[in-house]
Amino acid sequence: MADPISDHSIENHKGGGTSVPPPAVVVRRIVKRYGALAACDGVDLIMRAGEIHGVLGQNGAGKSTLMKILIGLVMPDEGSIAINGKDARIGSPQIASDLGIGMVHQHFSLVDGLSVWENVVLGEKAHLDRSAARSRVAEIGERYGLDVDPDARVSSLTAGQRQRVEIIKCLRRDPKILIFDEPTSVLTPEESSHLFGVLRNVVKTEGRTVALVSHKLEEVLRATDDITIMRDGKVVAFMRTNETDRHALAEAMVGRSVDLRGGKARHASENTIVASDVAAPVPVLEVIDASVHTKAAGVQLANLSLSVMAGEIVGIAGVEGNGQRVLADVLSSLTALNSGSIKVKGREIASGRPGAMSKSGIGVIPEDRHDSGCVLDMSVAENLVLADQVSVAQRGFLDRKKISAQAEELVQQFGINCSTVDAPMWTLSGGNQQRVVLARELSIGPSVLVAAQPTRGLDVGAIEYMGGRLKQAAAEGVGVLLISSEIEELIELSDRILVMYRGAVVGEMKAGEIDIHRLGMLMGGAE
């Protein structure tokens, strides 16, 4: 792939006349390791002054780490950085700020109870001048088209307005280099195109430099001048935006390393046979026009529809933050739908009512098991009966013997490694906690199993085990909904893959006909 350092870009500046300024940012061979994992592995990046530079990649590609290095939140292990042609050691956010680098983070850091202008001046040490601060906010807002009332309470603002406040906060320090981390993740399309207009304005009329970190192909194509594409901690491509297209971007972002595996076709046909044996044509799970939106987080699910048949594994692909977590929360009774419905075996389930989904036969392995999958301070045995205490109770009192016996059996069956079933859950390793969750959710005999990022943080053996269990559940007639950001995992396990983008299903592929190229395009929202 193209190497930006040896590419035309830097030569232009180096060899060119004195009239050409040096690039605003030159990052060379940056390495940052976390244990055995290299989040950035020899990354090069050149951002030219007066341009918008896109940094494209999937989750875990190393984009965020790279930006955190630029902003002084993370120190690189190797490599060098030059800002405006001068070598720089960015040891803290303060140094970054002195160098004129500012960042608008993906997750807002605003205080809900304070007004807009108070949030903007928060953290300033100088004497507070209320009227000056208010007029400054208004002035910045006007100059850049960031219309927001300085006196409004942040809690009353929409996601788009909150982001404007963040941008004003950043611009107030007059940075020469602005970094935007996934800025459109909570914005509506109109708000997004407005934002890009603002960015273009900032770059063109004031000669500032903007880095736009994103996983969305369309917006990178639309808003940037140069694009650096990262995958697995490395830069895999560098392109001029007007010389590329979405196909090339999608391919570079997802990569060719993901190949269809030989055994896949066979597995799929096996499953299809099982499905036709077991299941009636009624889907076990139907999600119909599901919408969730809140003022603070914006639209999270947008008329999402999908269905899962008995014995089928349906994979949900997509870059994180496109509504997968909310979908899992809805199916866990943790979030209520604003509109739409959920049906299990044709029966509608009240969304948001405690326990309703679980009772109707939806088992869930949540993305964060500590959040809604288990109770760390209760014992392994108790965790194994969390979902259904009634079956192990008599006249309102727990039958401890029965609980223990049932726990012993599940511990055996699922190979859970714990000292005793009375040991507190927190004494178990992550992989074993995950097995407890899996054992419990399967022990209630679900008709649907939702597995959200089920192998995250597990070692190879545990990953294989989990995959085997999901296949087995499907073979026994359970409809499995597998939400994952690991494309290999999805391809290996799923009979169908749906792609989520901005809270809706934007595409579907059958196991035999998975086209990596198209998958990348769908995940980037380019179709």
Binding site: L334, S372, Q389, A423
Partner: protein, 364 residues
């Protein structure tokens, strides 16, 4: 479960910490007493005489301990569900006031009236705590805040009922009625008092012990207790498993309020402040009961000795003034002792966490 070497070491360490910190509290208390012109040895003697040595005193101590235990057991229920009720003082008072409407108004009274009075007292205490539940689940007012502030409201309301004859004010012919309290409870509506070796031990003592043991058993073994525990430890997991925060949280708060109301009405039935209710009737039973629960770390069994210890401090301190010790010092000493009982588990917990963390980083 506790047979692992590390658990054993933790327990020994905890006991050691208790001994050191209680000793330290006594030393500081002794220094305080001596520097303020008293004699610590006389003070200790007075405390011992007042709390159990002198004739009839241990009966008094038990009389004080019983409602503390009931209040503490009730607090444990709310705490199990992760709800911090600190308004027991008000709930005790409202409970006693509610009970007074039956016990002092209906003559000549009967055991049935006693039961009705106690039930009304429990309902009143529950309703008072229910206001906080309503405020929390409807308007997100923090429970800690509303339960605390309702204490002050409760004494105002009780005080008002003692200013009107149609409410609780005692009707005395030809008297201007300056003293604002209720009439005495009907003789037949009172709860029995056992006479043991010259001590008057009210029946609230066995009732309190049965109540505490019952609460401990229900929390540990019932499905309801299991659900409260789930809610307290991890509300989102509980919600997924079908435990509604609103329903179970409200129930836990109502139950702890009812326990406080029970304590208040039983105090009235066994002759606290001469069988009369007044706005100062609760006599810090709610506050002390809350402290008992805190020190016993919401364990109803552990609350039994702790309630006894707090009752000793209370009855013993009545004798301190005679030993030349400033009475305000008693509060200071009690505060020191509470601190001494709080610090060991906190330190032990911190050390345990640090060890686990160290272990985890080592593994990583």
């Amino acid at each position: 479960m506790s047979t692992t070497p590390s658990a054993k070491r933790d327990r020994i360490e905890l006991i050691g910490l208790y001994i050191v910190s209680i000793l330290l509290a006594f030393v500081i208390a002794a220094i305080l007493v001596n520097t303020s012109g008293g004699s610590w040895s006389k003070a200790v003697e007075a405390m011992i005489n007042g709390s159990f040595k002198n004739p009839g005193r241990w009966g008094e101590t038990l009389r004080r301990a019983a409602p503390l235990l009931i209040v503490a057991a009730g607090s444990a229920i709310a705490a199990k569900a992760g709800i911090i009720n600190i308004g027991q003082e008000g709930q005790v008072l409202i409970g006693a006031t509610g009970a007074a409407f039956i016990m002092t108004k209906i003559h000549p009274g009967s055991p049935l009236m006693l039961i009705l009075g106690v039930v009304l007292g429990m309902l009143a205490g529950a309703a008072w705590a229910g206001i906080s539940a309503l405020l929390y689940y409807w308007r997100r007012v923090p429970v800690v805040l509303s339960t605390l502030l309702l204490v002050y409201l409760s004494s105002q309301i009780t005080g008002y009922t003692m200013t009107r004859k149609f409410l609780l004010l005692e009707v005395v012919e030809g008297s201007p009625n300056r003293i604002q309290n209720s009439a005495k409870t009907a003789v037949n509506s009172r709860l029995g008092i056992m006479h043991i070796f010259g001590n008057n031990v009210p029946l609230t003592v066995p009732i309190a012990i049965i109540f505490a043991v019952g609460v401990a058993y229900i929390l540990a073994h019932s499905v309801w207790g299991f659900r409260l525990k789930m809610l307290g430890f991890n509300p989102r997991t509980a919600q997924r498993a079908g435990v509604s925060h609103v329903r179970f949280g409200t129930m836990a708060l109502l139950t702890s309020g009812a326990a406080a109301g029970l304590a208040g009405s039983l105090m009235l039935a066994t002759g606290e402040s001469n069988y009369r209710a007044s706005s100062g009737f609760s006599a810090s039973v709610g506050w002390d009961g809350l402290l008992v629960a805190l020190v016993a770390r919401n364990n109803p069994y552990a609350s039994i000795p702790v309630a006894l210890a707090f009752a000793c401090l209370h009855t013993g301190s009545n004798f301190l003034a005679a030993a030349g010790v400033e009475s305000v010092l008693v509060d200071v000493i009690r505060g020191l002792l509470v601190l001494a009982l709080f610090i060991p588990p906190a330190v032990s917990e911190l050390r345990k966490k640090r060890r686990v963390l160290a272990l985890m980083t080592e593994r990583a």
